[in-house]
């Protein structure tokens, strides 16, 4: 397993796509989480209007270090999830495209050992996405505070850790779905296509529509879906400016963590089943 981990790490750390995906996440965070918001509140339009009735100066507090966790978490869910799913799908699917599965399976590790090494490296990369994400968010907030001449006060270390851990779990869960789809379809294009369709259409649009019906069975069903649990987990950290009347998170943070962990394990097991059963040609 350690052999497979070393080999997989050598492959993926040199693969441009891995760092491009992480780069997209960070660039999106800098632009949408900080730069554009800062411009909006620093140079407000004449007809500036905020739904909560807050002034630009009040809104600016969101961009300061004390709020960097809450302010940046929004980007973890859909965008981070989608990029992680692509990561997993590419890591697996390309091996089929290049025919390198057979090269991997004829060296020494068993298929399960090879998979375990791969899971380990994906866990490492998604962890590094999560750490980089909050490091960059912290840096942006510090720069903005410095520009504004504000002293930097930071959230409690435990909250930062919890947020990084939650993000890692969410990234990891989606990347393992991408991997499972990669093994199932033996290519990346289909794995990415179906994975993103699920993420955006089922977990995104469908549940938003269903929520409009305000039926109790909707939330019962939602509790079983990975994306809804990810949203609940992120929601548990709270918003900088909570909107009155917003629905409380679907489930508690603890419950969401358990459901996501189960999904992660199920996706890994699904990969293992497919990997063991299939002929490699």
């Amino acid at each position: 397993m350690i052999n497979a981990f070393k080999a997989e790490w050598r492959k993926l750390r040199q693969r441009p796509a891995v760092w491009i995906l992480g780069g997209i996440l960070l660039v999106a965070l800098v632009l949408f989480g900080y730069a554009f918001q800062w411009i909006q509140v620093t140079f407000p339009a004449k007809n500036f209007h905020n739904e909560l009735g807050l002034t630009p100066a009040q809104l600016k507090v969101a961009l300061y270090p004390v709020n960097f966790v809450k302010n940046s978490l929004v980007g973890v869910g859909i965008l981070g999830g989608a990029l992680s799913l692509i990561l997993g799908a590419l890591a697996v699917g390309s091996e089929f495209g290049w025919g390198t599965v057979k090269t991997v399976y004829t060296q020494r590790p068993s298929r399960i050992q090879a998979l375990a090494g791969q899971l380990g490296v994906i866990a490492l990369i998604t962890a590094s996405y999560s750490v980089a994400f909050f490091a960059v968010a912290a840096l942006c907030s510090w720069i903005i505070a410095t520009i504004d001449g504000q002293a930097a006060t930071w959230p409690a270390a435990i909250d930062i850790l919890k947020a990084a851990g939650a993000s890692w779990l969410i990234f990891g869960c989606w990347s393992l779905l991408g991997m499972a789809f990669g093994y199932l379809f033996r290519q990346s294009a289909m794995a990415i296509g179906i994975g993103l369709a699920y993420l955006f259409v089922i977990e995104g649009i469908l549940f938003r529509v269903l929520n409009g019906f305000d039926a109790s069975w909707v939330s019962t069903v939602e509790k079983f879906f990975a994306g809804q649990n990810a949203s609940a987990l992120l929601g548990s950290f709270g918003r900088v400016f909570p909107s009155p009347g917003a629905a409380p998170p679907l489930v508690s943070a603890g419950e969401a963590v358990i459901v996501l962990a189960i999904y992660t394990a199920v996706f890994a097991a699904a990969s293992a089943l497919v990997v063991r059963a299939r002929d490699v040609t």
């Binding site: 004829t106 068993s110 490699v280």
Partner: protein, 302 residues
Amino acid sequence: MTSTIDNVVSTTGLTKRYGKTITAVDALDLEVRRGEVFGFLGPNGAGKTTTLRMLLGLIRPTSGSARVVGRRPGEPAGLARIGSLVESPAFYPYLSGRENLKVVADYAGLSLAGIDAALDEVELLPRAKDRFGTYSMGMKQRLAVAAALIKEPELMILDEPTNGLDPQGVVEMRTLIRRLGTGSRTVLLSSHLLNEVEQTCDRVAIIRKGKLVAQGRVDELRGQATLIVKASPSDAARQSLERMLGKAAVAGVDGTLRLSVSPDRAPDINAALVSAGIRVSELRPAERTLEEVFLSLTGEAA
């Protein structure tokens, strides 16, 4: 089939079916002995690649069994001792040749120390820094051989390693294969080219439509050697040879006679013909080519 300790590969009734209609490999019994260069010969679609995939544990047999280096196919301890190139070389296009070998070494649990020697052996050292994606077919094949070499394997499985190479590359690859086969290493080489197997192998198995047609030493399979005789007058020559060797042993067309006797008898035959007043202009041993063997066994040209 008996399987002794010195069979590096032995299969018993090895069979692979795809669906109900395709039997890619049909009850194959193979024996590859330690230290030999073994040719696995058959036309395209005969089931060579399918067989090799089963030996490596890439696909599961429908029935039958195989032992490879004393292990079940695909067992880690066995795989560690096998170097293989099946169908086409597959590596990571964005990595250099050298990095690709490091990936293989990592998987196999080897130190990285032997990599440059292997690259040198296949004459890829000058291009070791270039991305695999930029390599020519010949370079890709040679990198695959280098990837097998770094494992210092006791068994090399090479599936049509000269496919897609230019004539120069073919010559180089065959030289390389012969070199790989020296010492105690066993090489299992599949090919659809008779002359390739003839040039490089000690023993050979011939398959057609998934079935074993023949297995044995290359010289055995070529069949009993024969003598070619040209003499005049040819009718008289024929008659006296038929008297001497029996009618069945003499065949001939257009004044060239083919005798199914050992070449050792050439001096006797020469003396007999000369003393009968027949002038012998040519007397030489002729071996059947593998091509002829193949034709007679499979009823089909390769």
